[in-house]
Assembly symmetry: C2
Amino acid sequence: MRYSKEHKAETHARIVKKASVRLRERGAHGIGVADLMKEAGLTHGGFYAHFDSREALVVEAFEYAMDRSIARWRQQSADTTPEERFSSIVNAYLSPQHRDNPGHGCAMPALGAEIAREGPKTRRAFAAKLDDMIGLLAEQLPGGPDRARKQAMATLATLMGTILMARIAGTGEMSDEFLKVGRDAALAHAMPQPATRRTATKKAASRAS
Amino acid sequence: MRYSKEHKAETHARIVKKASVRLRERGAHGIGVADLMKEAGLTHGGFYAHFDSREALVVEAFEYAMDRSIARWRQQSADTTPEERFSSIVNAYLSPQHRDNPGHGCAMPALGAEIAREGPKTRRAFAAKLDDMIGLLAEQLPGGPDRARKQAMATLATLMGTILMARIAGTGEMSDEFLKVGRDAALAHAMPQPATRRTATKKAASRAS
DNA sequence: TGTACATCAGTGAACGCGCGTTCACTGATGTAC
DNA sequence: TGTACATCAGTGAACGCGCGTTCACTGATGTAC
């Protein structure tokens, strides 16, 4: 062999990684085989030594992006005290940095609509990863597992919807406002007692800004 | 002229209408000029008598879809008593019918990510329409205009995020669960008193199902 | 009222570019002897 | 230890299809006289 054993796997991973960034930045139709290989420092002809088709790469890159998002959340949880975990995830998710860097951010708001258009098989694979995210978030929420799961689902929807809206709004005042109200709404989900919700939400919001 | 004065405008409108459905169903890259003209009962060559380019049609169809969504909300408001307006909008938005018919539904969850990738000019046009939606929803919410606006923004993010998640999840149990928790979370935004929020939310949720 | 001409939405063949895919080839390294 | 051969990731030219766009043409109707 021309290259060491790990070489092919490394090249493969490099292509997938680059693709997952471009995918989130430009969508499933925004990446071309030739451009992608060039970015990975290769020529387009070698592509088919790694993937059956362009479509196969897209699916792999989709999955990689999701796995990275989940891994990041886990890491963030491990790096934070239990009390701060939920708010730290929410604040990082609804930060201007995340809004402005879709290429390295969560795959759901960037690619969710395109995933929803895929066939049942692909969609199921993503629903499974979505389920992982729900579980991870539910762990940080008060109440029984059933209530925590429901709150986690509502929070996820709010987080992803907020980032989507904030990106449409751009980077102006309205966009920042979306991030802010999204944070408030999401953090309210973590409050166990409705009676204390109002003040607790305000405290959490001021910590976030 | 071969055709009456209104004829061209009617044809133009028919193409835009068909395109806006296909756009929401398949995304901005999912529609071809030839297919589209065929659906409108024409041949592809005539396309350029109506539009400067494929891109120009896409923008027009985007806008048409947004305008229709807003018009539908207005109509729904007009058809409902003031007390029921908010919940009627939320329940219609987070219904299985809406989830399963993206082609005739809200443009934001279907095309938001693609709009976010457009240039500032296009994005501003959509942000303006988003602002209309916020205003319309805020009218149905309690509290001062500032608080109502913030709640409307949070609600919109939750609605759109929920539909997106529900579509990824497909049509199974998890998808229905998303719609349900999304409704609960959105309806909670309409409750003026935090202290009464819990019971009020439950009442609203049972009304929705 | 009738006739000649102008208009222009729509037709369908053709063009050409981009892009996914194929393929014969390269050349460095691993393996067999 | 050295030599011949096999392997295979990567190269770059070429292919071919789809699709956006162009263009010469049609033919029904409006307008001018």
